[in-house]
Structures are given as structure tokens and as C-alpha cells.
Assembly symmetry: C2
């Protein structure tokens, strides 16, 4: 069964969707995201309708366990959700279509999971009870790290909290 089109096979569109799913999966792996997870997400985004686990398994040719696990993870990232279809026992899934929201959601999660731990870890490393020039140098390094990391943290925070147009306007002004 073809997931993508409702009737009459429109090859060009199906091809583009196929390619999109593949491309997205490839790119995601650069960013420490599991390839299959990215592909499941792209599939849901491109499909335009809720899909069941079985449909996802078939479209991506992956096992039930794999599909289930990646769907759970995507829900954990807050970028897909279950959708109940009346008269159906199966669970269906849909991806949030708002791309700006998607971007903010990913940024939010990565900030929480990856930036915050860096900050506390660096803060801890600054507390050395030895004296000496080498210690001073190391503490200076940690302070510089903390300084830049905090700035990144602030920028992420700004983006997460901002409305798309507001941020775009501000940034555009800065670029000019």
C-alpha cells in the first residue's frame, strides 16, 4: 500500500516525499539524532494524515519494536502526538505541522538536556582549592567557557520564547 497518495499514483510527488524522508534522516545523524527517528518524523510530516504503527513499519521497512521505540522518543521530544481515530482500536500518530514550533521545541529540549548539564559541570570544575598560576589559568579557562556557554543559553532561551515574526524582525534589524 502506498501511504502517500490517495488515488492514481502521482510519481513526482511520491518521489519528492520519499527523497525528503531519506534526506532528513541523513541530515539528522549529523546532529546526534537517530536516523530512523528522523525518518519517522519526516514521514509523518509529509504524509499529511495520521499514520498507524503498521503503516510506518511498512513505509520505512522497519520492525515493530523499532517503530514503537522511535515513536515514543518523538513523543518525548514533544514533536509528534497520538491521535485517536473514531471506530479504530489502533493508535495513530501525527506530526506538528508548524515548523517554527518544531524548531523551538527541538531547541528547548536540547537546551535542557545538553546545555544545562554543561553549565553545571563547568561551574563545578571552577572550585579548586589549590593556589598557583596553573590553577588560575585553568579557572580562567573555565570562566571563559561558562561565559560563552551562558550566552548560547541566553540566545536559545530568547529564540524559544519568541514569536517567529518578532524574532525575525529583530534579527533582520541587527543584520542590516
Amino acid at each position: 500500500m502506498c501511504i502517500f497518495v490517495s488515488e492514481k499514483t502521482i510519481m513526482k510527488l511520491a518521489e519528492a516525499k520519499e527523497k525528503y524522508v531519506q534526506t532528513w534522516g541523513m541530515l539528522a545523524s549529523n546532529w546526534g539524532i537517530n536516523r530512523t527517528m528522523a525518518m519517522v518524523h519526516a514521514l509523518l510530516l509529509a504524509s499529511g494524515k495520521p499514520l498507524s504503527t503498521d503503516e510506518i513499519m511498512e513505509a520505512l521497512m522497519i520492525s515493530r519494536g523499532n517503530a514503537n521505540m522511535n515513536l515514543r522518543d518523538l513523543i518525548g521530544w514533544g514533536i509528534i502526538r497520538k491521535e485517536i481515530i473514531r471506530g479504530e482500536r489502533k493508535e495513530y500518530f501525527v506530526a506538528e505541522k508548524d515548523i517554527w514550533f518544531l524548531f523551538k521545541q527541538i531547541l528547548k529540549e536540547r537546551r535542557k538536556r545538553e546545555i544545562e548539564p554543561v553549565i553545571s559541570s563547568i561551574e563545578e570544575l571552577r572550585t579548586i582549592d589549590e593556589k598557583g598560576p596553573e590553577t588560575d589559568e585553568f579557572i580562567k579557562l573555565m570562566s571563559d567557557m561558562l561565559n560563552v556557554t551562558s550566552k548560547i543559553n541566553n540566545i536559545m532561551d530568547l529564540a524559544i520564547k519568541s514569536d517567529e515574526h518578532w524574532l525575525l524582525g529583530k534579527i533582520t534589524n541587527l543584520i542590516k
Copy 2:
């Protein structure tokens, strides 16, 4: 031999440096960067003096091939450089100490390697010669993607080109 301190073992500092190298290696893997590469970088950053391949091999207990390969990659990222020490035949390596520069350099490389290909790939996917509501929907999705990705690209560009204090000032204003 201990790489970190010149004389008398100052345990607390050495411990902190050790922990820093380990922590940084761990965190890097979240971002799709090889663990050893991050550790080599952290070691150079923390050591405060140029290190030879042999010293790095010993400190991190890694093979010559591994050390060599990761040093080449770090040079490719533009965040470490060779340093010639007079009277020495061996090559020595140092890490750029300016953390803001480091951040910008990484951003610059990742933008080039990962964001630019995404943009061209999405642009290509928008060219579908079929008509129909499903095609329109997909083209809309690709346009939204392109829109957000271009914004991210612009923000990265802004950060890369900016001086630390200038950017900080602007962002601080936005946050207020």
C-alpha cells in the same frame, strides 16, 4: 609522565583537568562529534602548553593512528594548530584559547557542512511538476522548512561575523 603540572603533583588541579577532558568528551558525542576528538581538544586546551602526538597518546591512552587522525580533523575544524618548537623534530599542537573564537569557528564549519546542504536539498524538493492539493501541501511544507532554515542560517551568520561584546550587547537588549 604527567602532562598537566610542571613540578610537585597538585592533585586537585590535575583532577579537575582530568574531569574536564572526560566531561567534554562525553558532551561532544551529543553533538555528533567523535568522543576522542573532543578529548584531544580539551586536553590541549587545558594543558596550557604545546603537546606532541606522543604526549597526547600517553595522556589519553590512545593509539598513534587514532591520535594522528583526530589531530588532523581538529586542524580541519580550524580549532587547533601545529606549533614548531625550536630544536625539536616532532610536531607539537596547541588549541586556540579564545573561547568565543572557538564557538564561532565550530558554528562556521557546521553551518557550511550541515545547514547549507539542507537549504539546497529543500530548494530542490520544491520543484515538483505535478498539480494537485497534495502537491500544494507538500510544497507549502518545503517552503516553511526553507523559511525557518534560512532564519537559522542568518542567525548563525550574524553570530559568526559578530564581535563578542557587540552581539552580547544586542542580545541583552532583546532579552530585557
